[in-house]
Each structure stands twice: as structure tokens, then as C-alpha cells.
């Protein structure tokens, strides 16, 4: 602790060198936070909720629809507790950049299947009873300042109404809690009635809850077996698996970002490690002097190590700080594409842990050399 001023002094002895190293660390950790947020968004976060949920989708493509009649057929199975349908609605609010996920759903079964998305009984009742109503996630309502009773026009780019209009009007019934950011739910019955002929009686995918979670695999086989020889065969997966597949269809963002990060940190280790070794070589006489004065081998080594760790942790903190500052803006712009774009406190802690580890790796060689340094040899070399 008493050596703090020495530590800082040494970090800033070559300001240019330190700043360059520092900036590369900041960039690395900024990148780390961004890529982690992206890959988190695609993997949907790890949640224990919905472990008993299965997603039933078209066998050949996620963009193919399924017949509405499948809802009843699957619901009638003993092995399935509840099932609900969802579809991709698309469109935007006022301007194309105001886009977010919108799903036509059956209110009762939807909120039964997703109990973690909390909605008040009153709001749910209104959503159920008013055909043209919609409910918005709290984040979405907050983003556009919507209040219950507001009329929300959604301009469509896929589904025109039967009457030829591309603008759909919904009445906001209220909001619900949703951890994934912006989401609008509309009444499937109304959608199905009003949509142009070719869009009727179809759903995008189904989400079911199995009666007996340990038997989920056989339930999946049963369902897919039912439709195997129909014109719309299905592929069912557990919800978690579904999210993973979704992500991998989008280019396996998680793996790619992992590889980018590895490359970035590998480069950082090489560059910074080289800088640290260089800085160490310049300081051999000073470290020998400290030992001469009576500082132990270990304390001199600890000083050298602490410098590397301090540099990396400072770089990490600044990188994480910048990332957190950027988060609200990125979240607003990206959330409709990738779900929620969250930089969690956990990622930040993880980043700082990584920064410490980086410092230890980079400082290890100089620290060990500092410990081994013998005074007489070091003093002779000057």
C-alpha cells in the first residue's frame, strides 16, 4: 500500500507507451461488453423458466407457417398441458425506424404459457374482451409514452387488411412485465378476422407446456409424428434448444463473437506483454536498488505484478464504463433486432475479473524475473 505512489509513478513514466497500451485495453473491453451483450441477446439469456416449454415450428423453415387447426389438435393431447400460438406480425409505429416485435396471440393461453410475463388480471381481462386491443411490454410503452386507452397505429409491410388498408389500429389495454425489452401483443382473433384472405387461419409457431417435463422428448416425438405425413410437418424442440437454433441460423453469433474476443485478447496479451517486458528491462537497475535498500524479493515482484494488474483493471473499468454509457442508445436501436441488448452488471464484473486475469498473465513474466533478479548482477549491468 505504501508503494502506491511508486506504482502510479511507474505507470506514467512513459506516458505515450502507457496511453497506447491503455487505449488498446479500453477498446478490447468495450468490444468485450458489446459482443457479450450481442451473444447474450441471441442466446436469450440462461433462464430456468420455461424448461417445460416446447416450441413447435414448421419442419423446413422458421418462416413457414402452420395451420391454425394444429392448436386444437395439440391441445387435445393428454401429454400437453397448454398450448398457444404466436405469429410474426412485423410493421412499425409511425416511422420505419420505430419497429419492434409484434405477435398476434391468444391472450389467455399466452399468459398461461408465459407466467413470468406478469400482467394484471384487469389488463388481461380488457385484452381478452376488447377485440382491437393490444398490450405492450413496459419498456415499449415507456419508449413511446403510450398510456392505456391510446390508439396505436401500426403500419404493416407484410399483412394488409381485407379492406385493403395497410394501417392497423389497436387500442392499448395496458402493459405487462417482459424482461426481453420491447414487445407488442395483439389479439389473434381480431388479426385473423381482419387480415387479407391469404393470411388467415395460419400461425407462425406454437408454444406448448408439457404435462410431464421429464417425458419431454417422447412428447416431442409424439407431436412431430402426428404431422409427419401431412403437408405441414412440424419440428418441435424445447424452448431453450429453439433459441439456440434461432441464434445459430443467424450465423452463430455467439461462437463468432467468442472467436473475435479470443483474437482480441490474444493480441492484447502479446502487445501488452511485450510492452511490460520492455518496461521491465528498463527498470532492472531500479528494482535492484530497491532490493539493495532491503525490499524483499516478493515485495518487488508484487510491485511489478500490481502495476500490470492496475493498468489492465483501469483499462477494463474505462472500457466497461464507456460500454455502459453507450448501452441505452444501443438498446433503443438494436432491441427490436436482437431482443434485449442488455449489458448486465454480471458482464461488467466478468470483464473486471478478466482484466485482473489479463494483468496477472501479462505481469507474470516481469514479476518472476523481478523476484529472481540478483542485486550484484543487476548493478553490474549498468
Amino acid at each position: 500500500m505504501k508503494l502506491i505512489s511508486l506504482l502510479w509513478g511507474n505507470m506514467f513514466r512513459k506516458p505515450t507507451r502507457t496511453s497506447l497500451t491503455f487505449v488498446s485495453l479500453v477498446i478490447a473491453f468495450l468490444l468485450f461488453m458489446l459482443l457479450r451483450a450481442i451473444s447474450d441477446a441471441f442466446s436469450g439469456g440462461v433462464s430456468l423458466e420455461g424448461m417445460d416449454r416446447i416450441v413447435i415450428d414448421s419442419k423446413y423453415s422458421m418462416t413457414d407457417n402452420l395451420p391454425l387447426s394444429y392448436v386444437q389438435q395439440i391441445r387435445s393431447l393428454d401429454e400437453v398441458d397448454q398450448v398457444t400460438s404466436m405469429s410474426w406480425f412485423g410493421g412499425y409505429y409511425r416511422e420505419p425506424r420505430n419497429s419492434f416485435a409484434t405477435y398476434p396471440v391468444d391472450p389467455e393461453s399466452y399468459f398461461d404459457i408465459f407466467p413470468e410475463q406478469l400482467i394484471s388480471a384487469e389488463t388481461l381481462g380488457r385484452f381478452n374482451n376488447i377485440r382491437v386491443s393490444a398490450v405492450a411490454s413496459e419498456a415499449l410503452a415507456a419508449q413511446y409514452g403510450w398510456n392505456p386507452g391510446d390508439t396505436i397505429p401500426i403500419i404493416q409491410d407484410i399483412f394488409p387488411q381485407e379492406n385493403g388498408s395497410w394501417t392497423w389500429q389497436f387500442e392499448l389495454a395496458g402493459t405487462f412485465e417482459y424482461s426481453g425489452g420491447q414487445l407488442l401483443l395483439i389479439n389473434y382473433d381480431y388479426f385473423n378476422e381482419a387480415v387479407i384472405g391469404w393470411g388467415k387461419d395460419q400461425v407462425g409457431w406454437l408454444v406448448g407446456r408439457v404435462a410431464d417435463p421429464p417425458e419431454v422428448d417422447s412428447t416431442i416425438q409424439l407431436i412431430d409424428g402426428m404431422f409427419e405425413n401431412s403437408s405441414d410437418p412440424t419440428r418441435s424442440t424445447t424452448e431453450d434448444e429453439y433459441r439456440r437454433q434461432f441464434a445459430s441460423q443467424l450465423g452463430d453469433i455467439g461462437t463468432i463473437s467468442g472467436m473475435i474476443l479470443m483474437a482480441v485478447f490474444f493480441t492484447i496479451i502479446l502487445l501488452t506483454g511485450n510492452t511490460a517486458a520492455q518496461a521491465f528491462a528498463e527498470r532492472v537497475p531500479e528494482l535492484a536498488t530497491m532490493k539493495t535498500l532491503g525490499f524483499s524479493d516478493l515485495s518487488v515482484a508484487a510491485l511489478v505484478l500490481a502495476e500490470a494488474v492496475a493498468l489492465c483493471v483501469c483499462g477494463g473499468m474505462v472500457g466497461v464504463g464507456i460500454a455502459l454509457l453507450l448501452e441505452p442508445g444501443l438498446n433503443a436501436n438494436l432491441s427490436e433486432m436482437v431482443g434485449s441488448f442488455d449489458m448486465s452488471g454480471q458482464s461488467a464484473l466478468y470483464a473486471l475479473g478478466l482484466a485482473t486475469l489479463l494483468g496477472l498473465i501479462i505481469g507474470a513474466y516481469p514479476a518472476i524475473s523481478a523476484k529472481r533478479l540478483t542485486i550484484v548482477d543487476a548493478l553490474r549491468e549498468r
Partner: protein, 240 residues
């Protein structure tokens, strides 16, 4: 006066490749507390090596070294380090100050190893700087000081923990005549007024004249007789 340093039959060998180089051969030496001794001799004769052994920076290959009651030859690295912190001040030819710390902090550095409080450390360092005549330069970094001033800071650093022994390896070797004289005067003062025992390697006969006694080394042996009255040297070592 009591004995501060006693070397008995000290030998030091280095390996240069496969070849053994005998740098010190059977050195015997006894120095009383409060003596000021100059050590002269040609380059490579082993002066620095002997100084390093007496300062506890290195261990002899054989023989005994006892300084201020501690047997340095058998002490481990840890106890040597804390012994150095308490009992020896080092002054080198190239000052060896830490460039990132100002003069005051350089002088305070050895005190970090003590139990002294922050304010005591500060006070002692200021006092040491005052003794070497640099109380107004505490905030300057080494790079902002002249060679002579840097050497004064180094001397203040050597003094600050109040060791009984100062070992100085060519302390004026990098300084011009006038500055060198000033540094030597300072060392003399430390010897006379603070009673420090000083062991100083020098090439300069004028510098050696400042000391009470001069020893000569050649090819790893102490060769000269002693000049001066009061030094107890055992006969074996006083004969060429």
C-alpha cells in the same frame, strides 16, 4: 572502540562459463566502529565485490563475514534484506535513484520498510535532506537535479534509516572535481559529526586522503599496509 566489521579468510569465486574466477582470495579485515576507510586498487581487483559482501548484497564462497553482530555468510536472504534496511546505507557511482519519485520520496523509500508513521517518515526524510543541504529540492525529480545533487539525495537516502555503516562505491566517480570535493566533505562530516562508519571505494588518491585509512587491493587480495594510527588490522592481512 568496538569492532564493526570482521572478515575472516573470505574467498569469492565466480564462474565465467566453465572457468572459475577467484575474485577475492583469503581476505581478512577488521574495522572498528566509527572508522572512515578508503579502498583503492586497479579495476577488476575485487573492490566492489568486497564492498558488496560487507554490505550483505552477496554471499562469500567461503570464509566468515560478521558486520554489526550478524554473520552475513550464514544469514538467509530474508534476514539479510531486513539487516540491510536497518544497518547499511549504500551510495553508488550512478546514484541509483528512482526516476519516478521526487527527492523527498526517494529518501523516504527505505523508511517504508519501518514501522514509522507517514508523518514521521516525512519528517525523517526532510531531516536527511537537510543534512545533505537539499531541503529546498524535495519536490524535484532526479532528472531535474545535477549529478552532485542527485548524489546528495542518494546519501540522504543512505542516511535516513540511521545505519551505522555507509558503503560507498566510487561515490565521486561520475562527478567533476569541485562537486566531488563537496560530496567528500559531506561524507567527512557524516563521519565526524554523526559517527558513521564509512567504507569507500575510490580511484582518486585525493578522495582517499579524506579518509582516515586507505587499504589497497590487488588481484583479489588486500595488499597494502594501513596508513593511520587507530585501525586494528591483523598482521596476516597487513603484509603484502
Amino acid at each position: 572502540m568496538s569492532e564493526l566489521i570482521r572478515c575472516t579468510n573470505v574467498c569469492k569465486e565466480y564462474l565465467r562459463g566453465a572457468e572459475k574466477v577467484e575474485v577475492l582470495r583469503n581476505v581478512d579485515l577488521s574495522v572498528k566502529r566509527g572508522a572512515f576507510i578508503a579502498l583503492m586498487g586497479p579495476s577488476g581487483s575485487g573492490k566492489t565485490t568486497l564492498l558488496n559482501l560487507i554490505g550483505g548484497l552477496d554471499a562469500p564462497t567461503s570464509g566468515e563475514i560478521e558486520v554489526d553482530g550478524l554473520r552475513l555468510d550464514s544469514a538467509n536472504a530474508r534476514s539479510l534484506a531486513s539487516w540491510r534496511a536497518q544497518s547499511v546505507g549504500f551510495v553508488f557511482q550512478f546514484y541509483n535513484l528512482l526516476p519516478v519519485l521526487n527527492a523527498q520520496r526517494n529518501v523516504e523509500l527505505p523508511l517504508l520498510l519501518t514501522d514509522l508513521s507517514r508523518s514521521e517518515r516525512h519528517k525523517n526524510a526532510a531531516l536527511a535532506l537537510d543534512i545533505v543541504g537539499l531541503s529546498d529540492r524535495g519536490k524535484h525529480k532526479p532528472g531535474e537535479l545535477s549529478g552532485g545533487q542527485q548524489q546528495r539525495v542518494a546519501i540522504a537516502r543512505a542516511l535516513v534509516s540511521d545505519p551505522c555503516l555507509l558503503v560507498c562505491d566510487e561515490p565521486t566517480g561520475d562527478l567533476d572535481r569541485t562537486t566531488a570535493e563537496e560530496i567528500l566533505e559531506l561524507l567527512q562530516t557524516l563521519h565526524r559529526e554523526l559517527g558513521k562508519t564509512i567504507l569507500m571505494v575510490t580511484h582518486d588518491p585525493k578522495a582517499a586522503n579524506r579518509a582516515e585509512y586507505t587499504l589497497h587491493m590487488d588481484k583479489g587480495k588486500l595488499v597494502s599496509t594501513v596508513e593511520g594510527p587507530d585501525l586494528e588490522l591483523e598482521p596476516a592481512r597487513t603484509v603484502a
